[in-house]
Amino acid sequence: MLAAIAARIATALVTLAVVSLLVFALLSSLPGDAGDDEGPKPLPATFRAALRAQYHLDEPAVVRYGRWIADLIRGDLGTSLSSRRSVRELLGERLPVSLALNACALLVMIATAVPLGVLGAWKPGGRWDRAGLTLTTALYAVPVFWSALLLQWLFAVRLGWLPLAGIATEGATLGSLGAVADGLRHLVLPVACLAGGGLAYVTRFVRTSLVETSAGDGGRAARARGLSTLGYLWRHGLLQAGVPLLTLAGFLIPRLVGGSLLIEEIFGVPGVGSLMFESILARDIPVVLALTLISGIATLAGTTLADLLILCVDPRVRRAG
């Protein structure tokens, strides 16, 4: 058990090193550095050399990589070129918004996908299962930015039920309860779009896992004891399906991050996604790279944690490992 956990963590660390190398390679391939003269008069060679030395650009790539990693370990993610603020500070402002958005989306996604999956696995090949398959097949092909535009047009422009964009009504004087309600109203459309993006995949996944356990020995034993299929699925099947569901973390996190960028941009949500987008357009390279690295590390941490959890929860995996 301990050996398996150690092996998994070692693998993750190697992957982490490769992730950081990829980001560093990207950083090194970008044009321009502090020594490039952009002004009308060329800089004196000594001045340029001094600038390059100040930013350690005169050192070999290996040394610069080492310095960069050392900075990262100290928690120094760099400084934004456009706002002159540290990336950490910017993240502190933007991250809570994105986390709230994505957590809500994840909750809605799972709360919808699990009942749909159970319904499909109840009678595989039955009417509900076929309807669910058709729905998820269609949903899988819907571009998330398209559904966002259509929902925005329908609910905000035509019906006027929900706000068009932003996270709060500007200039409104609301009590604390009113402010929460206002925030929730602003969240409905972005959360629906984000949740819809992964819904098809998760529903399929839940259904397939449930069909497998239900057709297996556990399902047969439960039915022999007189438990209905639906009862078995709710009481035992979901617990077993929950284990493979954990592996989805690795699939969902990058999708949520990518989807979050488009959704935050469309709905004017001031989160990490729109920070990324603004930084890309402003060619604010330190911020872009820091955010890329962080999302890579977050995904890696998510998959590794999921694998470790499975190792702890599922005795079959433990023995095999």
Partner: protein
């Protein structure tokens, strides 16, 4: 369960429809770059069946020409992903051991990154050699660089499975070297999965191109792209539904077609897999 229409046929016809639209675009429509400032943002009418965009260009014409962009980038990216992913996956699956570990770590690392974000970053602040290329090539390369992992994983799995098969053992016993075993025995048996990953790859690349053009780092006008039309729809903030409905619908049908085709071929190859 027996489906009334096989997914291969359904997906193939959807994809075929888009290919046909792309091929016939110059004969079916007016000039997609024709600007007409007297008829800006007109809803669908007999003069412009799908309406006009923010510069009075015909949306129908831009839609059909956009199909060319989507397919061009879709197939180019798909091909590039195979070119990068297949050799790596094949080597990992065939040789195993240290080669497999190294390749697997690389695949895992690339999969850690949100692909769309990296593509946007590459295309906006990317290396000069990339930005010097023409738009479609640049986009295909950016998407291919991050999109090769499914093909590699697929190929790795296939080669791992086939490595121990009787055919390979027999070939090795007969004195065949690695290149001969790989090219003559393993590759022909793995070609079908290659087609499957190409089908999915084309769909997701077309989707990614639209997303890139939507946010403004992909295809830029006058070249037509569905994503660019959707981007205009966003800036009109719901005042021009036809700018959202038609290009988004076309993209939906193309992605649906590719996915159905991929699903269908996979199910045909693997009859044991539960539906």
């Amino acid at each position: 369960m027996r489906a009334s229409v096989s997914p291969v046929v359904a997906g193939g016809s959807l994809l075929g429809l888009v290919v046909l639209a792309a091929l016939l675009a110059p004969w079916l429509t007016q000039d997609p770059a024709q600007i007409d400032l007297d008829s800006v943002l007109r809803p669908p009418s007999s003069a412009h069946l799908l309406g006009t965009d923010g510069l009075g260009r015909d949306v129908g014409a831009r839609l059909l020409h956009g199909a060319r962009t989507s397919l061009l980038i879709g197939f180019a990216t798909g091909a590039l992903s195979l070119l990068l992913g297949l050799p790596l996956g094949a080597a990992a699956g065939y040789f195993g051991g240290a080669v497999d570990s190294a390749a697997s770590r690389l695949i895992e690392s690339v999969m850690c990154f949100p692909g769309l974000v990296v593509a946007i970053a590459l295309l906006s602040v990317g290396p000069p050699w990339l930005l010097a290329l023409s738009e479609p090539v640049r986009i295909a390369i950016a998407l291919g660089l991050i999109g090769w992992t499914p093909a590699a994983r697929y190929m790795r799995g296939e080669f791992r499975r086939l490595r121990g098969s009787d055919a390979v053992i027999a070939a090795r016993a007969a004195g065949a070297g690695h290149p001969r075993i790989i090219l003559r025995h393993l590759l022909p048996r793995s070609l079908a999965p290659v087609v499957v990953s190409l089908a999915f790859g084309v769909g997701s690349a077309a989707l990614a191109e639209a997303a890139l053009s939507f946010v403004g780092v992909g295809i830029s006008p006058p070249r037509a792209s569905w994503g660019e039309l959707l981007g205009q729809a966003l800036h009109q903030a719901g005042r021009a539904w036809w700018l959202a409905v038609f290009p988004g619908g076309a993209l939906f049908l193309l992605v649906l077609g590719c996915n159905r085709l991929g699903d269908g071929i996979r199910d045909r190859l693997d009859p044991i897999r539960p539906a």
